[in-house]
């Protein structure tokens, strides 16, 4: 469980102490029914493709994961060692639910999946990620994607 009381110390205090941004605006975008939407995943697990450099500590970059990337070539390079990784060793979908998304597309529940998915280092202050957000937005516009699932780790 990840209820706060179930997270062992000192991770619990560290999690609660993470600075969280606040915003003056409250954007809220609506769209067509799910069956007409193609969905992209943004993972904050600092995923990399096998052979690529791991994310650096504090990195504000965004990396693209082509949907064609084999699960066998996806590694996790998040800086934290204080979350379970043994589940990911068996099944990438516990962090990056790409197979489940494909199944939902095949079943017609969603309109499809994006050609590109995205990953960032979740421990980095999002205030420095404006450029990453711009890059994600630009690519999603190119692919005519309008909806996103953000998955943590």
């Amino acid at each position: 469980m990840a209820r706060i009381e179930d997270i062992p110390q000192p991770t619990r205090d560290a999690v609660l102490a993470v600075p969280c941004p606040s915003y003056d605006t409250a954007p809220f975008v609506s769209g067509p029914p799910l069956a007409e939407r193609r969905i992209a995943i943004v993972s904050s697990a600092a995923l990399i493709r096998r052979g690529d450099q791991p994310f650096a500590f504090g990195s504000a970059e965004c990396r693209f994961i082509p949907a064609s990337t084999l699960n066998a070539d996806i590694l996790i390079s998040h800086v934290s060692i204080n979350f379970d990784r043994t589940g990911f060793l068996r099944d990438v979908n516990v962090v990056y639910p790409i197979d489940r998304l494909r199944e939902l597309a095949a079943d017609g529940v969603i309109g499809g999946i994006a050609d590109t998915h995205y990953t960032i280092m979740g421990s980095t202050d999002p205030a420095g990620m404006t450029e990453a957000a711009d890059q994600i937005a630009a690519q999603m516009r190119r692919e005519n994607i309008h909806s996103v699932i953000l998955a943590p780790v």
Binding site: I4, T25, A26, D84, R100, V148
Partner: protein
């Protein structure tokens, strides 16, 4: 990130692993799931639960009663309970010396091959070193040297990702056969029952004693999770 993407015209739904953080950041749509940290979609090899969680998050995309929606996922993810039918792949290493790491690896590697076959993949690959080279590299760091490897230009990074790869390989070995263990069972076996676990503790000690500040910092924070440090 959700806020920034909505500002740019995209509808977002966040799967939130920590409710307190979602309450602070107030993303437009968030689904809090009580799954274990590191498994926000649920348990490995459980597509039914993963799909249900993902569907619940996707359903938020059709909601229009914003600007802030924070839902609790109603399902109870499988918990952290140990699996009594799981047994470690090898008996505990006991008081075996650190120089037994290479011999231990030689026993472990065939089981790792089984794990790769079973799961069709491996999460080992961050260190840019072959497993056969790990004992010698670790021994040099423990001896106070500052080796590097191609792709990781500092000992701090090379050792950090070596630790990640060692943990990943043993984690896969622990799951190569039979029923799935809990994460705690895998960790307890690794940290208390293998020479590899002792190697990581020794690497941490060496890093903490090093005059190399990067190695000292990285070793202190990123080699051994605090719950598994000696009491």
């Amino acid at each position: 990130m959700a806020h920034m993407l909505e500002e740019r015209g995209f509808a977002t739904a966040v799967i939130a692993a920590v409710r307190a953080q979602a309450e602070k950041t107030r993303p437009p749509r968030a689904l809090f799931t009580a799954a274990q940290l590191g498994r926000p979609l649920g348990e490995p090899g459980d597509p039914v639960f993963q799909r249900a969680t993902l569907l619940a998050a996707l359903a938020l995309l059709e909601r229009t009663d914003g600007p802030v929606i924070l839902e609790d996922y109603p399902g109870e993810p499988p918990g952290l309970a140990d699996n009594p039918t799981w047994t470690p792949p090898f008996p505990p290493a006991g008081d075996a010396a650190l120089d037994g790491f290479a011999a231990e690896l030689a026993r472990v590697l065939p089981v790792w091959e089984d794990a790769k076959t079973r799961f069709g993949r491996t999460s080992v690959g961050l260190s840019f070193q072959a497993a056969a080279d790990w004992p010698a590299f670790a021994a040099r760091v423990i001896a106070g040297e500052l080796p590097t490897v191609p792709g990781h230009g500092t000992t701090a990074l090379a050792a950090r990702f070596l630790c990640d790869d060692i943990k990943a390989l043993y984690g896969e070995v622990a799951q190569a056969h039979g029923p799935a263990p809990s994460s705690n069972q895998v960790d307890a076996w690794f940290w208390y029952g293998t020479i590899a676990g002792k190697i990581l503790l020794a690497l941490r000690d060496a890093a903490m004693a090093s005059d190399n500040n990067a190695l000292k910092t990285v070793g202190g924070r990123f080699f051994v999770p605090v719950p598994w440090l000696p009491k």
